[in-house]
């Protein structure tokens, strides 16, 4: 269990992480989602005691990271695949980490085997491809057989095989009862791996929800219809008790998956349809909307602080008010 409380980080004027409060539970994969520059890496560095928070607190099972007496057995982290001395062999890289935590060197062989690097154990890390570097980083994270694992954008730049391997590894680790915390800027990636979702934008918490809830609330399915006989079609659908939204000059949208029913109604009334297609709003769109709102919020509200532990999932966006609203607010 990792608990963040009002975690804040400023770099000069820039607020990289803004009053984050959430917790990461064991036994599931928690996805940490946000566009580039949202503050994911900064948050993770603070969790690991690498960066000092400007305000707020992070606790690992109730303790500060630097008070852990055997950190590698608590947390394994992969922040950056290149965070190693390229001149050192894979084996020696892992050995010096193991020794610093009193982990037997036999464990080094085990994790090398787990990530499939045994054959290049004596090779220098600088000759490794990105995927191999990533595997070596993960081997380091697994060294202490930790109960918490943290990965920062682990699939970035990997080939499909590597991506597949990492996804399965994370799921397997969580299924063993471990806490898995993984960041990404891609909703599609999270949808495949995460059970729980924490979304941030511009350092603020935007959503803290289960993946299932997020999908349910955000993946609206609807039917798109185009017809030259739009008025008559509207009447027909209306009398059939189907709610229609006019989405454009010629386009209508109907919520839910009623394509067959609509097609049959149109046929009965000899109406011409140019399009009748079931649509699914993608999670990526939902995510972009969510984070775009945070950007807009900033742009319009002149830095009025948002309530801590911000709204859940599709936050009721502050109506994109008139230009100058924030300016007025700021003065009053």
């Amino acid at each position: 269990m990792i608990e963040l409380e009002g975690l804040t980080k400023r770099y000069g004027e820039k607020v990289a992480v803004n009053h984050l409060t959430f917790s990461v539970r064991p036994g599931i994969v928690t996805g940490f989602l946000g566009p580039n520059g949202a503050g994911k890496s900064t948050t993770m560095r603070m969790m690991l005691g690498l960066d000092r928070p400007t305000a707020g607190d992070v606790r690992i099972d109730g303790q500060h990271y630097d008070r852990l007496k055997d950190p590698l057995k608590y947390i394994g982290a992969l922040l950056d695949a290149k965070a190693m001395h390229g001149g050192r062999s894979a084996f020696n890289h892992l050995l010096c980490l193991a020794q610093s935590n009193g982990i037997p060197s036999s464990r080094v062989h085990e994790v090398l085997d787990t990530v499939g690097l045994t054959s290049v154990a004596k090779k220098k890390a600088k000759g490794f491809s990105l995927g191999m570097g990533q595997r070596l980083g993960i081997a380091g994270a697994l060294l202490g057989d930790p109960r918490i694992l943290m990965f920062d954008e682990p699939v970035n730049g990997l080939d499909p095989e590597g991506i597949h391997w990492i996804r399965n590894l994370m799921k397997a680790l969580a299924a063993e009862g471990r806490t898995v915390f993984v960041s990404s800027h891609l909703m599609s990636e999270m949808a495949l791996t995460a059970d729980h979702l924490v979304v941030i934008g511009q350092g603020r918490l935007l959503a803290d929800t289960s993946m299932a809830d997020f999908i349910e609330q955000n993946s609206r399915s609807y039917v798109r219809i185009r017809s030259p006989q739009r008025e008559r079609l509207l009447d027909v659908l209306h009398s059939a008790g189907i709610t229609v939204v006019q989405a454009g000059a010629e386009t209508l949208e109907v919520d839910g998956g009623k394509a067959e029913r609509i097609g049959e109604l149109a046929a009965q009334h000899h109406l011409v349809l140019h399009e009748l297609s079931p649509q699914q709003a993608s999670l990526e769109e939902a995510f972009m909307q969510l984070t775009a709102e945070s950007v807009e919020y900033h742009a319009h509200s002149g830095g009025a602080p948002s309530p801590a532990g911000a709204p859940a999932a599709p936050s009721p966006a502050p109506a994109p008010g008139q230009w100058g609203d924030g300016w007025k607010e700021g003065r009053s």
Partner: protein
């Protein structure tokens, strides 16, 4: 583009997993327990780790290799050029002095690299994630580096002394053990100072340049300072305390006995202690 094939269920596979989900409150029941025994980490672990680090990179082999070649190589050349009479009242280790003046740059370089290469490569984040007690890591680096530098330089000086004595020994030479210890101590402390500077500057080239300035400027500047009446005393102090001159005193090159250089060694120890203190303070304060 991959679309979600199936919405992941909120409840993960619960087979053989304790009821962690039933207790989301602040009850820190270990969800996963590792078979690896828990050990309370201490300085010994950090020392073992730093020992593995220092011996598993090329830069160590290179810097120490060049150091040995310089001290022993130049030392033996000098020894071959001298006669028995030259060692009337000076230690047999004198030939090592000439190589040490150059060789100290190798130890400075290694001292800086021991820490700045970790910042340069990003390894430092991995290191501090594994050992969040930063002061312990720095202490281990200082101890391991000092031990390596001292043993290697004492060996080099001692070896030159032995060979020289066997070539020019007349039975009643001066005792030279002290010059081995003091000479090795001086160059090793310079390396430790370089490590502390490297820790504060976090940048290899910058720290090596700063250290070269510290060693060379006081050796060159006095030539100019002595020309000015008002700066004369500063110039004289620099002349007396600069690194090459300190080594010369340790090896009895100026007064003709191998026991000088105590004040110079003291000054270097003081400066090094101050730099180490600064490095520890900054290490704790700054983000990695």
């Amino acid at each position: 583009m991959s679309t979600p094939q199936q919405p992941p269920t909120q409840t993960p596979v619960p087979q053989a997993v304790p009821d962690w989900q039933a207790a989301p409150g602040p009850s820190y029941t270990a969800a996963y327990t590792s078979p690896i025994p828990v050990t309370r980490t201490h300085l010994g672990h950090a020392l073992a780790s730093e020992w593995t680090k220092i011996k598993s990179v090329r830069s160590t082999i290179w810097t120490l290799g060049v150091f040995l070649v310089l001290v022993v190589g130049i030392g033996l050349l000098v020894a071959a050029q001298t006669t028995n009479e030259d060692f009337g009242n000076v230690p047999y280790t004198i030939p090592a002095f000439f190589g040490l003046v150059l060789g100290q740059i190798c130890l400075i370089t290694l001292g800086v690299l021991v820490i700045s290469s970790e910042y340069g490569t990003g390894m430092i984040r991995t290191t501090f994630t594994a050992s969040p007690q930063r002061h312990r890591v720095l202490a281990a680096k200082l101890i391991i580096f000092f031990a390596v530098a001292f043993v290697v330089s004492a060996f080099a000086i001692g070896f030159v002394g032995l060979v020289t004595e066997s070539m020019h020994g007349s039975g009643e030479g001066t005792a030279w053990g002290g010059s081995v210890v003091k000479g090795a101590l001086y160059v090793s402390l310079l390396g430790v100072l370089a490590l502390a500077v490297g820790s504060m500057l976090r940048h290899s080239a910058g720290a090596i340049t700063a250290m070269l300035g510290l060693v060379l400027v006081p050796a060159i500047l006095p030539a100019f300072l002595l020309m000015s009446e008002s700066l004369r005393t500063i110039g004289e102090k620099m002349l007396d305390y600069n690194a090459p001159n300190a080594l010369a005193k340790i090896f009895g090159l100026d007064e003709g006995n191998g026991s000088g250089g105590g004040a110079q060694l003291g000054l270097l120890a003081g400066v090094t202690a101050a730099a180490i203190a600064g490095a520890f303070v900054l290490l704790d304060r700054r983000d990695v």
